[in-house]
């Protein structure tokens, strides 16, 4: 019974856990419960992925209503992989949350915090798993609303304005998406994605479809913070509680990228999106500018969290660049970078959370002398940073390898150079932190600082360790990413 209902359980397990979490009292129970649920969700996603890899796409009819009338949950290689990323990050971040959240958020808000975190997880998983366009919007809003709440719980009062800014931008983005979905419905009379994909080729000349395409493009790129529409992201990540930054940075934009992949490759189809409308001519320049400009901006930040947030925008540029190549290699690079970036950026933000816990600030000056005082945390940061730079034997290198290869395949030398220049800019901003941490002595009046507790170090190191391990043994990640890319492009492997 359970094996059969896994797609539903993936979403409804955290969904039912969220209100239950509100009922729990005490300082640790909500956390313990949420952690257990996140682990269960992770186990489910692993099972789903292995099912998909073994036996192909799974289709699950909600409430027994057969698609295309009812809501269908549809799991193929692409979203099984994204599900794995999201739930894995959730499962790693939650154990970390106990100490960090206990430190950063007042105790009476803990049940609400974990409820919101579980809802956010539910929303992200739901967006990924659903095969129904409107359902996607609903889950998108569930995850967005809960993440606005999570961000607003940050200690700094700027968290409030950042959250409101995100709320406004996010709502506009989601509304654009829902308009796009509505227009698609108008053209085809269906909301089921597979059904949409089957009916769209008959309507390619319709102006309504063109409008739907435009709204979807703007909506998704806003949600995933592509270059000119990224202004909400740095503040939101910089002022959110550490756990939230780690979780959202690793998952939220990834899921938005998934929406883009799903709509443009599966639903609208590559032929319409790229051959007829040449979306790549829009995506590639924007992505290239994102890589260069945002990496440069990151260099000038004095708040390390904000610096990494800008770096995230640049990394999203890489992903979009990979998508823009519209080739198996390019898509493989993009999908594998979804995973790789989630792992390394998650690890980096968690390391920052450790610094926040012990030092109370993540401004650059606060890092002075930390290399000696918090050796494990800072070493994790260095390794994560190296991965961001793309040093071999880290996941960052694997992503760059495939990206540059995809660029060279198309003879796009300029883009290959852009990608590498982006790495060099990463060297600069990462090394600013490293120099301060290792070569600047701590200020004389600094309070003594000890290493972060194990409950935070272990999750940090799990992510950092993964970013090394999957940089050496890539058969799993690249293998799945390649299959996913082939699925999206409709190439039968």
């Amino acid at each position: 019974m359970i094996a059969h209902n896994l797609p539903a359980l993936q979403v409804v397990l955290p969904l039912i856990a969220a209100p239950l979490c509100l009922l729990l009292r005490g300082s640790n129970w909500p956390w313990a419960f949420a952690t257990l649920v996140s682990w269960a969700a992770f186990a489910i996603s692993v099972a789903l992925l292995s099912q998909v890899l073994d036996s192909g796409t799974i289709s699950y009819a909600m409430g027994g209503w057969a698609p295309p009338w009812g809501i269908e949950y549809r799991v193929d290689t692409v979203n099984a992989f994204v599900l794995l990323i999201v739930s894995a990050i959730g499962a790693v971040v939650l154990p970390y949350a106990r100490v960090s959240v206990g430190h950063e958020i007042p105790a009476e808000r803990h049940p609400a915090f974990f409820t919101a975190l579980l809802l956010s997880l539910t929303g992200l998983l739901g967006v990924t798993i659903t095969g129904d366009a409107f359902n996607l919007f609903v889950f998108l809003e569930i995850s967005s609303l809960s993440s606005y709440v999570l961000i607003a719980l940050g200690r700094d009062r700027r968290a409030l304005t950042a959250s409101l800014q995100y709320l406004i931008m996010g709502t506009i983005g989601a509304t654009f998406i829902v308009i796009g979905i509505g227009l698609l419905y108008m053209v085809t009379g269906t909301l089921n994605m597979a059904d949409l994909a089957a009916r769209i080729p008959a309507a390619v000349d319709s102006r309504t479809l063109l409008a739907a395409f435009a709204f979807l493009t703007v909506g998704t790129t806003l949600k995933l913070a592509l270059f000119p529409l990224h202004s909400w992201l740095p503040n939101a990540y910089a002022y959110a509680p550490s756990v939230v930054t780690g979780f959202l940075a690793a998952t939220a934009t990834k899921v938005s990228v998934y929406i883009l992949l799903r709509f443009f490759f599966s639903v609208l189809g590559t032929e319409y999106t790229f051959e007829r409308l040449t979306l790549e001519q829009l995506l590639i320049p924007l992505a290239a500018v994102a890589v260069l400009v945002c990496s440069t901006v990151a260099i000038y930040q004095n708040d390390v969290k904000r610096m990494l947030a800008y770096s995230s925008v640049a990394q999203i540029g890489y992903i979009i660049l990979g998508i823009g190549f519209v080739s198996t290699t390019g898509l493989t690079a993009a999908i594998v970078h979804l995973f790789n970036h989630a792992v390394m950026k998650g690890g980096l933000f968690l390391a920052l959370g450790c610094v926040m816990l012990r030092v109370g600030s993540v401004r650059l000056d606060a890092f002075a002398g930390l290399g000696r005082r918090m050796p494990l945390t800072m070493f994790a940061f260095v390794l994560g940073g190296l991965s961001l730079i793309g040093v071999p034997l880290t996941v960052g290198f694997i992503s760059k390898w495939y990206l540059v290869q995809a660029a060279l395949e198309q003879g796009a030398w300029i883009l290959a150079i852009v990608i590498l220049v982006g790495s060099l800019l990463a060297v600069i901003y990462i090394w600013r932190v490293v120099e301060v941490a290792y070569l600047r002595p701590p200020p004389a009046d600094a309070a003594p600082v000890s290493e972060a507790p194990l409950s935070m170090l272990i999750p940090t190191w799990i992510l950092i360790g993964a970013s090394i391990y999957f940089g050496i043994d890539t058969s799993l990640t690249v293998g799945i990413a390649r299959r996913a890319a082939e699925t999206l492009l409709g190439v039968t492997p």
């Binding site: 409107f134 009062r157 709320l167 709502t171 308009i179 108008m186 904000r306």
Partner: protein, 121 residues
């Protein structure tokens, strides 16, 4: 397509577009956060109308189960938009709650004044 005939014939879409642009303009141009949220609401409302008017079938009645077959309007967009309205309410409530707390933290709901209070970045 004959453009002049479109204007009255597709008047619902014109309303949608006008509402949308009004809402969007308010979000962009106002510095008062409350007005921004109101603008956002108008913006979302335009989408509700888009969906609802889309489901209308000429001469159709309300989609309620009756014994004899009649033409009825497409119920699906209504159901969908019910969800969207709930989402809109939640967004507005959350936005308003945030503004209340911003007011408590900064003593103002004017965006430019808030920005002036935060020195750098």
């Amino acid at each position: 397509m004959d453009i002049p005939a479109d204007i009255p014939g597709l008047y619902n879409y014109w309303i949608v577009v006008v509402l949308m642009m009004v809402g969007f303009y308010v979000v962009i141009s106002r510095t008062n956060l409350v007005k921004k949220i109101v603008g956002l609401n108008i913006f979302q409302t335009s989408v509700f109308i888009l969906y609802i008017s889309m489901g209308k079938v000429k001469g159709g009645t309300a989609p309620i189960l009756v014994d004899h077959p009649v033409t009825y309007s497409n119920p699906l967009p209504h159901v969908l938009i019910l969800t969207a309205i709930v989402v809109g309410v939640a967004t507005t409530a959350l936005g308003a709650a945030l503004i209340v707390r911003i007011k408590e933290a900064y003593g103002t709901v004017e965006e430019d004044e808030i920005q002036a209070m935060e020195p750098d970045e």
